[in-house]
């Protein structure tokens, strides 16, 4: 239960978790474990390992391009599991598999749960799996001993927030605003309402993502939530430094700027 332990420890330290999303296999499967190590050195507390998909409807252009690069490089569900195994052989950082549903269905939900557990993955978030359709998948993944993380959105009415809370373990992923993934200038005021409404129905830690790309935004969100997710901003750094020997160093430095901003900030 690495995820639960992480949030307990951070609660005692009175700081929110820094969660980083990266697309596994971008720019190539053999690089990802090193990129994750750099993020961890920079102070990232939890990694969302994205499975690339050909038709990522919830993602903006940055993660769409990353998915294309990863697929071009031959990344599959099986290779993402291998990447997780490599990461786990040298680190205890919590890992959440972040995927669209179809590649997981094709792999087989039972097999996925079993293999993910064996490779050291701690939880699973399936972007386009609504709670209404989730019973079999959640049963299989939980049976394997993994957490199941679901999304909640500013558009979700209270009834849906309750459902999302019921299906989520480890943490709940709050979407900060409507729209696709990608960096934005402002954090929307509706986020505060969403956090408050969600706190009414669950004690599970709340991580907030979508559109957070600067230390200032991270600190602002960190005052409300138990975790701050940064995705596209990291993926953009990968994109800008595909062939640069400095990629790891840049990821580490950017992660450090974010984690520093979160010190002394408590929900």
């Amino acid at each position: 239960m690495r995820i639960k332990a992480l949030f307990q420890r951070l609660r005692e330290q009175k700081r929110p978790a820094l969660v980083a999303y990266i697309t596994a296999g971008d720019p190539s499967p053999d690089r990802t474990a090193d990129l994750v190590a750099a993020l961890e050195r920079g102070g990232v507390d939890l990694i969302e390992l994205g499975v690339p998909f050909s038709d990522p409807i919830a993602d903006g252009p940055v993660i769409q391009s990353a998915s294309e690069r990863a697929l071009q490089a031959g990344t599959s569900v099986a290779s993402v599991l291998e990447i997780a195994e490599q990461i786990r052989s040298r680190s205890e950082i919590p890992l959440v598999l972040f995927s669209y549903l179809n590649p997981i269905l094709r792999f087989g939900v039972d097999a996925l749960g079993r293999e993910a557990k064996r490779c050291g993955i701690d939880g699973c978030l399936l972007t386009d799996l609504s709670v209404e359709e989730a019973d079999n998948t959640v049963a299989a993944i939980r049976a394997a001993g993994l957490d199941t993380v679901f999304l909640a959105s500013p558009t979700s009415p209270q009834r849906r927030l309750e459902l999302v809370a019921k299906y989520s373990t480890g943490f709940v992923y709050l979407v900060s605003r409507t729209g696709v993934t990608g960096e934005r200038q402002n954090i929307e005021s509706s986020l505060e309402t969403l956090v408050r409404n969600m706190r009414q129905v669950t004690d599970t830690p709340l991580a907030v993502g979508f559109g957070i790309s600067t230390p200032e935004q991270a600190a602002e969100v960190g005052r409300l939530a138990d975790g701050v997710v940064v995705g596209s901003a990291f993926v953009r750094l990968v994109e800008q430094n595909l062939h640069s020997p400095d990629l790891e160093r840049k990821l580490e430095e950017f992660a450090r700027s974010l984690s520093t901003a979160l010190h002394g900030v408590a929900a």
Partner: protein, 416 residues
């Protein structure tokens, strides 16, 4: 006949999805959480409208006086005689305003959008027929219209791009993936999730998350309701066979659905066989695909071993899509409808044959259904067959020119 009957009779109870939008195991709602509340709101608004006689009265009025319903059921005598078998009737959806069946659904959904207070309409389009129909109803109701279209399809269907712009729509080219219908739907979904409060997504086929497959089908049921009445008048009996092409499957489900309880009527859906059976060369989901999730629904899908969506090919942009509508998947598994495929060349040849025997130039999509009728009719003497002629071929003239070079002024045989 009242509008409620048009949507619900004569076989309205034949297949309805369950509360979650499932046809057997297919369909459902597989979308990110941000879209769940809007989809629930859309379903509630649709069910309310469906029960409102005023909604049907307005829709019927538009279908009659604006779109041109009912469309004729035409006995294609010369085509039938040249084949020497079944009597072939054509359900002339190609004669509707904008040139295809798509307008039926667009009128229904734009009225619904107005009920919901939406001011902005977005849509995807493949062949451009749905985009043109959407741009048309938006002009009619003074709504902002944005149509997403793959850049490859924009190239193939230049005329329709221009028509949409002339009607006041903004056409956004989509450069990702295969640059066809699949990518246009992904981009429309991204727009919708970003602009939920102002925007209605006017999805153009019996695809996507519940309630779309049910709702789009209901708006097209009028095709089958009319055809059933018309064939009973013309022949005093039901047909043996009905043919319809299947991209997402909206024209097919529209004509099939009112016949579902008429077990003697064989329903045949024709997918795009493209250039061959290899993955990426066709859009034959039933023979070449397997169940999976794309764009909100669970259905037969062309995908590779890793669950990535496969590229597709068809000479017909409207059939060039990796998933078939979920109700078709269910009808297939129940053996209530049969699905087959026709390749590019055979479809082109069927178009030429229909043009020359009946003076009707069909859309390339509809030509696939005509081709299947040409295959089967000779062995079916004494039978009555109906082809859903879902669209007209004006939009495809450039492609016909490319493929029938001998007919073109630039070609080698000008006098032909």
């Amino acid at each position: 006949m009242t509008g409620t009957q048009k949507l619900d009779s004569p076989a309205g109870a034949a297949t309805q999805p369950d509360q979650g939008g499932h046809f057997g195991p297919y369909g459902g709602r597989f979308v990110p959480e941000t879209l769940m509340a809007p989809i629930e709101a859309l379903e509630a608004a649709y069910l309310e409208a469906k029960a409102d006689p005023a909604f049907h009265a307005e829709l019927d009025n538009l279908l009659t006086h604006y779109a041109g319903r009912p469309t004729p059921l035409y006995y294609a005598k010369r085509l039938s005689e040249s084949l020497g078998g079944a009597k072939i009737y054509l359900k002339r959806e190609d004669l509707l305003h904008t040139g295809a069946h798509k307008i039926n659904n667009c009128l229904g959904q734009v009225l619904l959008a107005r009920r919901m207070g939406k001011k902005r309409i977005i849509a995807e389009t493949g062949a451009g027929q749905h985009g043109v129909a959407t741009a048309t109803v938006c002009a009619l109701f003074g709504m902002e219209c944005v149509v997403y279209m793959g850049e490859e399809d924009m190239r193939r269907q230049r005329l329709n791009v221009f028509r949409m712009r002339l009607l006041g729509a903004r056409v956004c080219g989509v450069a990702s993936g295969s640059r066809t219908l699949k990518d246009a739907i992904s981009e429309a979904m991204r727009d919708w999730v970003t602009n939920i409060s102002t925007t209605h997504y006017l999805l153009g086929s019996a695809l996507g998350s519940h309630p779309y497959p049910m709702m789009v089908r209901d708006f097209h049921r009028v095709i089958g309701v009319e055809a059933r009445r018309q064939i009973l008048e013309a022949e005093q009996r039901l047909p043996e066979v009905i043919y319809a092409c299947v991209g997402g499957g909206s024209n097919a489900i529209g004509i099939f659905h009112p016949f579902l309880e008429d077990k003697s009527v064989r329903l045949i859906g024709i997918e795009a066989g493209g250039q061959g059976p290899g993955l990426g060369e066709h859009a034959a989901r039933m023979s070449g695909g397997s169940p999976g999730v794309l764009h909100g629904a669970f259905s037969y899908l062309l995908q590779n071993d890793d669950g990535q969506i496969a590229l597709t090919h068809s000479v017909s942009a409207g059939l060039d899509y990796a998933m078939i509508g979920p109700e078709h998947a269910w009808l297939h598994d129940q053996h209530r409808a049969e699905y087959t495929s026709v390749g590019d060349e055979e479809a082109l040849e069927a178009a030429r044959r229909l043009a020359r025997t009946e003076g009707i130039i069909p859309a390339l999509e509809s030509s696939h259904a005509v081709a299947e009728a040409i295959r089967r009719a000779p062995a079916a003497k004494g039978e009555v067959h109906i082809v859903n002629l879902s669209g007209r071929g004006d939009k495809d003239i450039d492609i016909y020119r490319e493929n029938f070079v001998e007919l073109d002024a630039q070609g080698p045989d000008y006098a032909h």
